[in-house]
């Protein structure tokens, strides 16, 4: 198991956003987290990436306990994620986004300056074009993020998550709000990523969407895992249907 999540609990006042949430993520597979609105899916990602601090529980990545690490250290140790509301840098170009994601030494000012003055900075253009081709973002590299459409922003967000060195990809509703054509394209990108050996966890509230895509599905309700298994098993699970129909 590449990622082990044990008993994660997060309360907001009386709301149990996460309630002893326990799940394991298998490597090189697509795992879907589904559940009705407000069931704690995004909170789960936020807890894993330390955007929020949990009340209790443990997160182990590749055998290493990351529960008490900083958000950026967790990101550095191999978790890439996208956000339900995309987070981009509006005054930076597509190319600059991907360079930031690809580089690992750019925080070291003196090293950066020495490289800039004495050595030619590493040219990532080839790699950048490769990733953009993979996600199908067909815009000039110098386009500013603020000039992209909603769908293109989703693709750029996905591209930087892929570009950043990682061992696992967490995607929060990668197809939410996009048109049906782009939806199909994004599904194909996710399948392609799997074939490249990526480990993918994706959040989605539409049960039908994950049926043909995921290897394993976890169903959340009120912050708890109420069912898990192959999509076909989940589809006919009585508790899951009740949760979805508000039974």
């Amino acid at each position: 198991m590449i990622l082990q999540i044990t008993n994660l609990t997060k309360h907001y006042g009386g709301i149990h956003a996460l309630d002893k949430c326990t799940l394991d993520i298998a490597p090189k597979k697509i795992t879907a987290i589904i559940g009705p609105n407000g069931s704690g899916k995004t909170t789960l990602f936020d807890a894993i990436t330390k955007l929020i601090t949990v009340d209790e529980g443990r997160v182990v990545l590749n055998g290493k306990d990351i529960t008490n690490m900083n958000d950026y250290d967790i990101a550095k140790s191999g978790i890439s994620r996208t956000f339900q509301q995309v987070r981009l840098f509006k005054n930076l170009t597509i190319k600059e986004h991907l360079e930031i994601a690809l580089r690992v030494d750019d925080e070291k000012l003196f090293k950066v300056l020495l490289n800039k003055v004495f050595i030619k900075e590493k040219n990532n253009t080839h790699k950048i074009k490769e990733i953009l081709a993979l996600v199908g973002l067909d815009k000039p590299l110098e386009t500013y993020a603020s000039d992209l459409s909603y769908g293109q922003r989703k693709l750029l967000d996905l591209a930087i998550a892929i570009a950043k060195p990682h061992t696992i990809l967490l995607l929060d509703e990668p197809v939410a709000g996009v048109n049906p054509k782009l939806r199909v394209e994004i599904v194909n990108i996710i399948k392609k990523l799997k074939s490249l050996g990526e480990t993918i966890v994706l959040i989605e509230h539409d049960m039908n969407f994950v049926m043909g895509l995921a290897d394993t599905v976890f169903v959340l309700e009120a912050g708890r895992v109420i069912a898990n298994g192959k999509p076909s098993e989940i589809q006919n699970n009585k508790r899951v249907l009740e949760a979805y129909l508000g039974g």
Binding site: N91, V104, D106, V112, V117
Partner: protein, 291 residues
């Protein structure tokens, strides 16, 4: 006569352009609403003067110490305000400049309080001293050019792109594995360093400093320069320094009594700031606006 006056103004332009570009590095490039920049200028000025005058340190060493010590204050300010953003950060940094101002005013044993420190020596290098204002102008232009070139290289490097990214979306950048607190610390330390050496240049030019040069009202002046020139635009800050320093000087040719001149200048700064904010929020050369 007019020549001497022009040299005087150009020296001020040189010093203030370093001050403005360094503020822009924090405010425009990194998105840190720092209202305490004028305090950095003051810390640099006092440090340089105290080290040369009271401790007998040679000018160039004192000049660098002024930058470095101010940089330490920059780190203290970032650390103390690390939980704050936007308006709250602006308020806290305003408080910082007030604290530093009070220190200059009340720590009399070191700063001589409101009396100020007169008789500050002109810079000497290995026994050669700057003898007149034209030489000082050349010295200021060299230091300004080097300072601004360094800041230009920094903001256009891959490190500089990280500063822009933390300004645009801090959480998004942390999710990419970057320690944004360290980035902001470095940005403000660089910004403070250059404000500190600008302070040193100022003190050894004017040869007399007192706390009034580093009052809150002076914050308006450098903010006006940065905003008129354009957020995150170095070229804008330089052009704007010329405009903002030179325009009020035209008042002198209108035979306005000197008692009115000071307040009139403040009014002009405030008016220019207002016009730009309302009519051209991105400033003369800015591409971005802060929300």
């Amino acid at each position: 006569m007019i020549e001497a006056y022009l040299i005087h103004l150009l020296i001020l332009v040189g010093i203030y352009s370093v001050l403005a570009v360094s503020l822009n590095l924090a405010l425009g490039n990194t998105g840190l609403m720092n209202m305490g920049h004028i305090a950095f200028f003051g810390i640099g000025a006092y440090t340089s003067v105290i080290f040369t005058k009271d401790l007998g340190v040679p000018f160039f060493a004192a000049f660098l110490i002024a930058g470095l010590l101010t940089s330490v204050f920059g780190f203290i300010l970032v650390y103390a305000t690390r939980k704050l953003r936007g308006d709250y950060l602006a308020l806290a940094t305003l408080g910082f400049s007030f604290v530093i101002y009070s220190l200059m005013l009340n720590w009399s044993s070191v700063t001589r309080g409101p009396l100020g420190i007169p008789g500050i020596s002109k810079p000497c290098f290995f026994g050669l001293c700057i003898a007149n204002n034209l030489q000082y102008l050349i010295f200021v232009l060299i230091i300004s050019a080097i300072s601004i070139a360094i800041m230009y290289i920094i903001v256009n490097s891959s490190f500089g792109k990280l500063l822009a990214a933390t300004r645009d979306d801090d959480i998004g950048l942390r999710a990419l594995g970057k320690n944004t607190f360290m980035l902001k610390s470095k940005a403000l330390m660089i910004s403070a360093f250059f404000a500190g050496i600008a302070g040193s240049l100022f003190a050894h030019y004017i040869t007399y400093i007192d706390p009034s040069s580093f009052m809150l009202s002076e914050v308006i002046l450098i903010f006006t320069i940065v905003i008129v020139g354009g957020i995150a635009s170095i070229k804008g800050s330089i052009v704007s320094t010329f405009l903002i320093i030179l325009i009020p000087e035209l008042l002198r040719f209108l035979n306005i009594p000197s008692s009115v001149l000071g307040p009139a200048r403040q009014i002009i700064y405030a008016l220019i700031l207002l016009v730009i904010v309302l009519w051209r929020p991105k400033g003369l050369f800015g591409k971005i606006d802060l929300e």
